[in-house]
Amino acid sequence: MVKVKNFIDTPSQTAGPFLHIGCTPSITGINIFKDELGSTPFTDISLNEEINIKGKIYDGNNEPIIDAMIETWQCDENGKYFNYQGFSRRVTDFKTGEYQLKTIRPGNQINVDGTIFPSYILFWIVARGMNSPLITRMYFDENEIKSDLMFKNFNIQDRLKTLIPYTEDKKNFVFDIHLQGKKETIFFEF
């Protein structure tokens, strides 16, 4: 393991309830930037490859969080990461708490050591009350992750389903995130 390090990295602080001003300013009526980051993860999504993901983030009182921002990061259908696409920025609705994402289904990515990972989308979540971001992943297939070596190292087989969306049909997925309670989503650190 790499021996760490000369300096410590700058601490995280909450993005607060008004993160929209800096991150999605048009929502607050501010239109000074050329364009907003992450308005779509891919510029030309064809109808036949398009998938829709929606959901809510529930707090410990089972209330949807109405002031969260989610950033997603994913590879394309061939498992390739680019640095100019694959990124999106969504906020939860002020009234309903719902987020919506139109994207494409990512392919299986091949890791540096040649192993193949089940396909997933990275979710990076900030909000008021979160001192640091929460990171999770939405996978598509429960059996795929149950057999994945990475998860076998942990005693969490019964919680793996929290990483799988409810599939309405081939194109429509509901991925709810639960911060606490019996359905608490698995979060990651690296």
Partner: protein, 233 residues
């Protein structure tokens, strides 16, 4: 599992963290391609005044109201290497402590010439600079009504998602910093100091406005070091 220089997720003095933090420990996994890649941004996305909050929302050339300041510094990795092309987004309240946001309940007046956001990209030596006005402190409901120290919110994109950071810069000498539960959620007292922009008079003559220096360090490509993890494990 504690990283002492990063805030505790659950810090009861900051009340809303109680229901917005997971009860289980996060799963510590090796990063894969999704963490060591990330979106890259270049200067093409910027308008000329994106780094000038005094002017970027102004009407008829009028300036935003308040004490004009500039904030500048270097973005580096943990070994002090400069990080170029880091996109920084900032947002803040106006001089009276009011945000241009529909959910801000404050009845302080909005400044019609102040939007409150800006963005810019670090140069090849990791340097950034922007101009703004000193934000006001503002009250918020926590354990009763409490006051946030004056602060500017910062969001940074390094070259990989692992480096993604949202934080806040406070102002040297602000007496409200000491009692702020968001600051105090960081166990390591020395790490809290990294969030304080230092009064910097060295460039003030040139700029004719008051300067603050705020350097930012983004993590590198190593696994998180936890205090209770035995080295080599």
């Amino acid at each position: 599992m504690i990283k002492k220089h990063q805030p505790l997720r659950r810090f009861p003095d900051y009340k809303s963290s109680i229901v917005r933090s997971p009860e289980n420990e996060p799963l510590l996994i090796n990063f894969s391609n999704s963490e060591i890649t990330g979106p890259l941004f270049n200067k093409n996305i910027l308008n000329e005044n994106d780094n000038n909050l005094i002017l970027n929302f102004s009407k008829n050339g009028e300036k935003a109201l308040g004490q004009e300041i500039f904030v500048h510094g270097f973005v580096t990795d943990e070994n002090g290497n400069p990080l170029k092309d880091v996109l920084i987004e900032v947002w803040q309240a106006n001089a009276g402590g009011k945000y241009r946001h529909q959910n801000d309940p404050s009845n302080i007046k909005l400044d019609e010439n102040f939007g409150g956001c800006g963005r810019f990209i670090t140069s090849s030596d990791g340097y950034y600079i922007f101009k703004t006005i000193q934000p006001g402190a503002y009250p918020y409901p926590n354990r009763g009504i409490e006051w946030r120290p004056k602060h500017i919110h910062f969001s940074l994109f390094g070259s990989m998602f692992l480096q993604r950071l949202i934080t806040q810069m406070y102002f040297e000498g602000d007496p409200l910093i000491k009692s702020c539960p968001m600051v105090n959620s960081i166990p390591d007292i020395n790490a809290r100091k990294l969030l304080v922009g230092k009064l910097d008079l060295s460039k003030t003559d040139e700029e004719k406005i008051l300067g603050y220096r705020f350097d930012i360090i983004l993590r590198g490509k190593h696994q998180t070091y936890f205090e209770n993890k035995i080295e080599g494990s």
